[in-house]
Amino acid sequence: MTDDAPSTDVIQGTMDMLILKALSLEPMHGFGIARRIEQTSRGVFKVNPGSLLIAFQRLERDGLVDAAWQQTESGRRAKVYSLTRGGRKRLDDETAQWTRRAAAVARLLKADA
């Protein structure tokens, strides 16, 4: 929202990758992850909270992230997610694949121009 360009919804199918990437630095709670994605994408990606919560559910069931309840300073319970070994491997695979595809698309676009 700091950029002039309009923010877009996260590209279909990349949500998982973005979450895993965000978690690869440190365990985080849901809102933190959303903020991280928005910040690092410089506001290009706007994350819908509902979709994010669903994605967490899916990733947790697939064993890619772990979830634990922690006490916050305000005395509330917060669900903190962290990457599992499987999650890290998935992130590496997806990153490699994404890079390959993005490079290919970039080459195609350049060739056309």
Partner: protein, 877 residues
């Protein structure tokens, strides 16, 4: 795999602790909102505005919760349970519809379940009362060319038992008729002579007392001990626990009762019920005329050793059998039984394929009834969705997804079908109980146990679920497909038109299928009739028969002979008796014996029976040439035979057969006469080569007394003669030959009953369908009919129009049904005694019946239509 478990456990936790799962989601959302609000505050919003903005971003909490929750598989279960509850509620609102559908499904599923129950009992169910039937094998001697014999000889069996490694115990049993007496009168039962390990190998444990020890089966005639069945113990020993250990007389010999078998165990031969078991080594007492070393009289079986396969056991046993054959110097001919065939121990030796084919045809017939029932239900559902159209449309308009709506309707259908399945199971239980009571000749100790079990119930439910999906899908799709706005707008006269066209086709189809069943039943009825009238080649009427095994009473050869002679004399003296004889086998009552004969260079199988003087007079079986077997044909006399015309033609094509010889059981046998061809084993057989030999020259101890005379005096006279001889002897079962030989028609009679029952059920269902369709059409056209009547149409015309509508459907159904029957009925040819599978009389008669039923079914709504009050009809709606 681990992933699967994680999904499963997560889902189960959500399902079982739904509130906690919801709380987790809520809490996570609240935390999110707190954080987001804090960020907004940091950017300068007031706390209240920040909170509102954060909440707006995340959306309505219930929706988020739903979406998060919706994600897992457990959501399906939860909403399905919801569907189930809703289905129950809707179905309860229309009790009449629900009851009728369940009844119709129950009839259809009951038909199939009944036949499956019989298949299950006869073909699939392992022998009752034995443990781990999967590793039990039957052992049958086999020839090199693949032909197998049911039974094995004792020496060959011993060789296998002593050397086989891939089986854990090889056991054998032989059949023996026993007369058991506990003080007073005796009871005839079927007994087994068994090896000591018989019960151990089967894994049967005694209910009372014990079974046999190895010691009891080591030396001949030394251990007179007996085990009886639970049923025998209850009915003849009063279920007295102290009976075990008591002396008991078996075939006149003192035995000791040592044990009682568990209730389920009735021996190892499907259809035969065994009531007593004795050690094989007691054979010299119990079967004194037979030599246990000779003949193949044992049924062998074994438990596979751990890790051994049936195939490897077969290879090993075959190798052993081959060694044995060589060791006794058996000539290497194609007939030598030098191999062993291993099959699962089913208690169903031979004849399995015929039985399976017959039951298969019956299953097909039952499937037709299920088809009719399914089609009927489909039509009813279709009608229901048309009339519930508004309700469905409203629900769709309120946001129920089409898929969800469909799932809901399918659930409703499945509930109906599963309830129907339980009804079907009840129908099958009743029907099998009725079939079990189908009268069989009293002289045969056969029980048919075809009552359904858990497997049958599972089958019924599974079948109904499949049927529900198949027959429910089309109406459900139709129900949800039609355009919602259309639906809300108009429930006009034309709305049900497409439905009704489908409905009509379905009704005609039902009529056609029920006609096929009725035609099958009709053909079987004609076959029974034809079979009863087949000329067996002799006169059945006025002959009484009773099978007596004097040996089973403990008589030796001389005593038996004396008894038979005395009995014959007494019978001859009975007023009204014109002829008396004995035979080893009676025609048309479970077959004849078969053996090979050799003449010239030809060796072939021929059937034979041993007969005594007077046999041809008792049966009034004409002798075409030569003489009959008479008093002169004693044991020491030259071997002679009377042959039938078929065998005569084979022995002396074109020449005179009298005086020719053939070899039978290593002896030259001279033909002394020709008897007319007759029926021997069954009424529809092609006449086999057959010959009669003097009873005196046969070793068989079993004799059937045949008396031509009035039943009223002869039957008591037989009983009196036996009792006079020895009051402890059981009264023999006397049967009337004409009745007993009808047992040859049991399959046809059963088939006629089953297909007839199915056909009538099908016809009722189809008539119901027709009635429903015509009624619905009349209801839809009430206004039109009213207008016509108001314009002066004749009530008779209205009546005719409506009945005509039903008649058109009936004609379509009849034409299709006759065509299908003409295609399908030739499959039944082998059971029809030569009745033409396209017999025009049967077809015509049943088509007329169907037409009459169809007209009656449409007459009722027609009369209602004709009685329409024009004024009222025009006022409605």
């Amino acid at each position: 795999m681990i992933a699967f478990w994680r999904h499963l456990t997560h889902g189960l936790r959500v399902l079982t602790r739904r509130a906690a799962a919801d709380r987790d989601i809520d809490e996570e959302m609240r935390h999110w909102i707190d954080e987001a609000a804090a960020q907004h505050v940091a950017r300068g919003l007031t706390p209240a505005a920040a909170r509102r903005a954060a909440m707006a971003e995340i959306g309505p909490p219930t929706l988020v919760r739903e979406r998060v929750r919706d994600h897992g598989w457990e959501q399906w279960v939860a909403s399905w349970l919801q569907d189930l509850r809703l289905a129950g509620r809707t179905l309860r609102q229309t009790p009449l519809f629900t009851t009728i559908v369940i009844l119709v499904v129950a009839l259809g599923s009951g038909a199939v379940t009944t036949v499956f129950s019989a298949m299950n009992a006869i073909l699939l169910r392992p022998l009752p009362g034995i443990a781990d039937p999967a590793t039990l094998i039957a052992i049958q001697p086999a020839r090199r060319d693949g032909g197998t014999a049911e039974q094995i000889g004792w020496p060959r069996f011993l060789h296998l038992r002593d050397h086989a490694r891939r089986v854990d115990g090889l056991a054998a049993w032989g059949r023996v008729p026993l007369t058991i007496s506990d003080g007073a009168g005796g009871t005839s039962v079927l007994g087994s002579l068994v090896t000591a390990n018989y019960f151990d190998v089967l894994g049967v444990v005694p209910l009372r007392g014990r079974f046999f020890t190895a010691e009891e089966n080591r030396t001949p005639s030394t251990h007179p001990v007996l085990v009886v069945s639970h049923a025998f113990w209850l009915t003849h020993l009063g279920g007295d626990p102290r009976a075990v250990g008591r002396p008991i007389s078996v075939n006149g010999h003192p035995f000791t009762l040592i044990g009682v078998a568990p209730p389920a165990f009735r021996g190892l031969y499907t259809g035969l019920v065994f009531d007593a078991w004795a050690p094989l080594m007691m054979q010299p007492q119990l079967r004194p005329r037979a030599n246990m070393q000779h003949g193949s009289w044992l049924w062998g079986f074994a438990r596979l050793a751990p890790g051994a396969s049936a195939l490897s056991a077969e290879a090993e046993l075959s190798a052993l059998a081959e060694t044995y054959s060589r060791s006794i110097g058996e000539a290497e001919t194609p007939d030598t039984q030098s191999r062993i065939r291993v099959t699962p121990l089913t208690g169903l030796p031979g004849g399995k394929t015929t039985t399976a084919a017959f039951l298969g045809v019956m299953l097909g017939a039952a499937a037709l009834v299920l088809l009719i029932a399914g089609v009927n239900v489909a039509a009813m559902l279709s009608g229901r969705y048309v009339s519930r159209g508004r309700d469905l449309a409203v629900r769709a308009a309120l946001g129920a997804g089409r898929l969800r709506l469909m799932r809901q309707l399918i659930t409703e259908v499945l509930v109906l079908f599963v309830l129907g399945a339980f009804g079907g199971f009840a129908v099958a239980s009743a029907a099998t109980a009725a079939l079990e009571r189908l009268p069989l000749p009293a002289s045969i100790p056969v029980t048919i146990e075809i009552s359904p079990d858990v497997r049958v119930l599972a089958f019924a439910v599974g079948l109904s679920l499949v049927a529900g999906l198949v027959f429910g899908l089309v109406p459900v799709l139709q129900g949800v497909r039609r355009d919602i706005t259309d639906r809300l707008k108009a429930e006009s006269a034309g709305a049900g038109r497409r439905h009704s066209r489908l409905g009509r086709a379905l009704v005609a189809g039902q009529l056609a299928l029920s006609l096929v069943l009725l035609v099958a039943a009709g053909l079987f009825v004609r076959a029974v009739d034809r079979g009863a009238r087949v000329d067996p080649g002799f006169e059945r009427d006025g002959v009484l028969a009773t099978t007596i095994e004097a040996e089973a009473w403990g008589y030796d050869a001389a005593a038996s002979a004396a008894f038979y002679a005395a009995l014959r004399e007494r019978m001859t003296a009975v007023p009204g008796v014109t002829a008396v004889s004995y035979a080893t086998r009676v025609p048309l009552m479970f077959g004849s014996s078969v053996d090979t004969i050799t003449f010239g260079t030809t060796t072939r199988d021929a059937h034979y029976t041993g007969v005594d003087e007077g046999y041809f007079d008792v049966l009034r079986l004409p002798i075409q040439r030569g003489r009959r077997i008479d008093r002169s044909d004693v044991e020491a006399a030259p071997r002679v035979a009377v042959v039938n015309e078929t065998l005569a033609r084979l022995l002396a094509p074109g020449g005179d057969v009298i005086g020719r010889t053939f070899r039978f059981r290593d002896a030259d046998t001279t033909v002394i006469g020709i008897a007319r061809d007759a029926k021997y084993a069954s009424l529809d057989e092609t006449t086999p080569p057959f010959f009669y030999v003097p009873l005196a020259q046969m070793r068989d101890s079993r004799r059937t007394l045949l008396v031509r005379g009035p039943a009223a005096t002869v039957a008591p006279a037989i009983a009196a003669a036996v009792q006079a001889r020895d009051p402890r002897l059981p009264a023999p079962a006397v049967s009337v030959l004409a009745e007993d030989t009808r047992s040859a028609l049991v399959p046809q009679r059963a088939a006629a009953i089953v297909t007839g029952g199915l056909g009538v059920t099908g016809l009722l269902l189809a008539a119901l369908g027709l009635y429903g369709t015509v009624s619905a059409s009349v209801a839809r056209r009430t206004r039109e009919i009213g207008v016509r009547l108001a314009l002066g149409a004749n009530r008779g015309t209205v009546l005719r129009t409506v009945v005509g509508e039903g008649a058109r459907l009936a004609i379509a159904g009849i034409v299709a049904g006759l065509g299908l029957a003409a295609l399908a009925m030739p499959l039944l040819r082998q059971w029809l005694f030569g009745v033409d599978p396209r017999d025009p009389v049967t077809y015509l008669a049943l088509a007329m019946t169907l037409a009459a039923v169809a007209v009656s079914a449409s007459y009722l709504p027609a009369r209602r239509a004709a009685a329409t009050d024009p004024l009222r009809a025009l006022r409605t709606d």
